[in-house]
């Protein structure tokens, strides 16, 4: 009986149906199904299918992002029961991400955050125009494995360097890896400022993040 429910869960992710996924998550709780099983044997299967279809060119980025949203919504419903049972999902790592101070550009950063979250990272999105100290505080607070810094302007790009220096001063390097991105950011710039990872797009960013945490 749960097999059929798991299949529906996977399909709800593939179809990008948030409300349906939430309803299926509630059904699982009502039936006393282990929430961790619902995630791993239901929703994650859908996420993986979308990922595979994306890789072979059959599905597109909006499919991936929507799958990530569905997953997030379903997990939110299952989380209280997981906490009650004392179980939790195995995450690939803790990521603190944001757009640097003076820069309000949101979409690239949000896309990377969504993709990392959908790929099994715990993501803390600090938003845009984030002060240097805020990155450091949050990285300390959540014991971050990765800090992601976005910038769209050549004038704000320099802040990425400032954050790396601040992380160093706070003694958080090298246990915190730094990833940088944004339209004007290049691999050369990433190397020069001592960043550990760089990607030009969100899909590449997931691969880089996995590599940085050894997953």
């Amino acid at each position: 009986m749960s097999t059929e429910l798991f299949q529906k869960m996977a399909q709800s992710v593939i179809d990008g149906e948030v409300e349906l996924a939430e309803e299926l998550a509630r059904q699982a709780l009502a039936q006393g199904i282990d929430p961790l099983a619902a995630i791993n044997e239901g929703f994650v299967v859908g996420v993986n299918t979308v990922g595979d279809q994306f890789a072979c060119g059959e599905m597109f980025l909006p499919d991936l992002v929507l799958a990530g949203e569905v997953m997030k919504a379903a997990v939110a419903i299952l989380e209280p029961e997981m906490a009650r049972r004392g179980t939790h999902r195995e995450m690939l790592g803790q990521v603190v991400i944001g757009t640097v101070e003076g820069d309000i550009h949101d979409i690239g950063k949000t896309l990377v955050a969504t993709m990392l979250s959908a790929s099994g990272f715990q993501v803390y999105d600090l938003g845009v125009d984030v002060p240097i100290a805020r990155f450091v505080e949050k990285a300390q607070e959540v014991k971050a494995n990765i800090v992601g810094l976005s910038a769209l302007l050549t004038t704000t790009m320099v802040r990425q360097k400032d954050v790396i220096e601040a992380l160093e001063e706070a003694g958080l390097r090298p246990q915190v890896k730094v990833m940088v991105g944004g339209a004007p950011v290049t691999r050369g710039w990433a190397n020069e400022i001592g960043a550990d990872g760089y990607s030009e797009d969100a899909i590449g960013a997931v691969a880089v993040a996995r590599q940085l945490v050894g997953a």
Partner: protein, 481 residues
């Protein structure tokens, strides 16, 4: 010496891409969005202006909801035509609906070095060199800041870039790299120094200011403050939307036009509320998200349609348009670049977009290529020739010449041929040589453009800027730092 400028004028081709009913529906939808959804204006000054004119202002979210009549009445105050002045008055550009002018693209972050061939970070010397080639090139009518002077501090970088352009070209400068009130005020000082004061600057705006919106439905605070300063001193001011289907705009093209239109006309309305009658322009480079990477595409059929559709909108609001064309997503000056830049430029030109941005950048406006710049100029030359259309009159029907030659002869030695042959387009970069000549050298457009760029940089001396002006620029910039 200062060079002639080639523009498209008196066009004979036409395209109806949107019907009057289509435009009315886009306009109505746009006003609905501005009034019921709102647009973000994260600037105290901008919010004060909106509030003073009765718009609904949320200070916390910075979202402004303005009634349609407020937007419409404000836009009516915008002048329909004006000039972009140049250091050399012979190079002034009338934005009158009957000219299409090309600028350099901007703002790139890397340069394909002309000598080493290597890709490297852009610096101030690149801004100067590109301005000098632009000064020489007849197709380039005005300058954007083509690449970022990343060897200069962010606080004054935009001002050093302007100084480098004016020191190397007599043509109009339009900056897209000023994002703060402080820099805008200094830029006004620099422009005023060139023309002999702030009153003269109103008559002869040698500088115009283009600010990007922050889609969907937002503006950047510093950019708004900078635009308000520019408008205060009569500098032509525009807002550019780069809404992208499926990411910062709906996946449908009409929906994209609505979101971008809401950003641009709300920005232009703000300027008119603050400074009624200030010269403003519409600017756009809408695109679609690449469905695989999420990236900016910089070309494709949707972009070409946007290129033609946007001038219909700016005509509806009766303001000039600065339209993104060229700006290929290709990594090198290749097949893709040729297709994208030709079609985008043709579609933006056939509707008589006033300004086209712009020549020279690859990879979605990130990497400067001198070769691409000159090949883009060639593309503009082709489009310009096409826009002349086919003239039909007694002289062009050429009956006398046809009678003189008769069946089986040829037209080579006809006076009529000699009279008209120079109207035919002659390529600089198309390969029309015999096959064996090509086979010996195996070269082509890229190599010829490469050599031409090197020749221009080695030989072209622009009309120099008065050294006291250069000194004045440095004093102004130092006062900001």
């Amino acid at each position: 010496m200062a060079r002639n400028i080639q523009s498209i004028t008196n066009p004979r081709l036409r395209l109806e891409i949107l019907s009057p009913e289509d435009v009315r529906r886009i306009h109505t939808a746009t006003l609905d969005v501005i009034e019921s959804v709102g647009v973000r204006f994260p600037s105290e000054r901008a919010l004060d202006i909106w509030a003073a004119h009765g718009a609904q202002v949320d200070r916390e979210s910075t979202v402004v909801k303005a009634p349609g009549h407020l937007i419409e009445e404000a836009l009516k105050k915008a002048p329909p035509a004006y000039i972009l002045a140049a250091r050399d008055p012979a190079q002034d550009l009338p934005l009158d609906g009957n000219h299409v002018f090309v600028g350099t693209d901007g703002c790139g972050v890397e340069v394909l070095d002309l000598e080493s061939g290597q890709r490297r970070r852009s610096c101030l010397q690149d801004v100067a060199d590109i301005a000098r080639v632009g000064d020489y090139t007849e197709e380039v009518a005005f300058h954007w800041v083509a690449v970022s002077a990343q060897d200069y501090p962010p606080q004054t970088r935009s001002l050093w870039e302007l100084a480098a352009i004016w020191e190397n070209s007599t043509k109009h400068a339009q900056t897209e790299s000023i994002y703060s009130e402080r820099e805008a005020r200094a830029a006004v000082e620099m422009a005023a120094a060139i023309v002999g004061g702030k009153e003269a600057l109103r008559q002869r705006p040698v500088l115009s200011v283009m600010e990007c919106t922050a889609p969907p439905l937002g503006h950047d605070g510093g950019s708004l403050d900078a635009a308000l300063v520019a408008a205060e001193f009569g500098l032509p001011t525009g807002f550019m939307t780069m809404t992208s289907c499926a990411s910062t705009a709906p996946a449908t093209l009409a929906g994209n036009l609505v979101v971008g239109n809401a950003e641009v006309i709300s920005g232009l309305a703000l300027i008119q509320l603050a400074y009624p009658g200030a010269p403003v322009f519409y600017a756009a480079a809408q695109t679609v998200m690449d469905l695989r990477t999420g990236g900016y595409t910089g070309g494709g059929p949707e972009d070409f349609l946007f290129g033609a559709a946007t001038n219909v909108l700016s005509d509806f609001y009766n303001v000039p348009l600065s339209m993104g064309s060229f700006a290929t997503g290709a990594k090198t000056a290749n097949w893709q670049a040729g297709i994208e830049n030709s079609l985008s430029t043709f579609m933006a030109s056939i509707v008589m977009s006033d300004m086209l941005l712009g020549v020279g950048l690859l990879h979605g406006s990130r990497i400067w290529s001198y070769e691409q710049m000159l090949l883009d100029c060639e593309i503009f030359g082709i489009v310009r020739k096409m826009m002349e259309g086919i003239v039909v009159d007694d002289e062009t029907l050429a009956l006398d010449a046809i009678r003189a030659v008769g069946p089986g002869g040829n037209f080579l030695s006809q006076k009529h041929t000699k009279r008209h042959m120079r109207e035919l387009w002659v390529p600089r970069y198309f390969d029309r040589r015999p096959y064996n000549v090509w086979e010996e050298r195996q070269d082509g457009a890229w190599e010829w453009a490469h050599e031409e760029a090197r020749r221009i940089l080695a030989t072209h001396q622009p009309d120099p800027l008065d050294p006291t002006l250069s000194a004045e620029f440095r004093r102004i910039i130092a006062s900001v730092a």
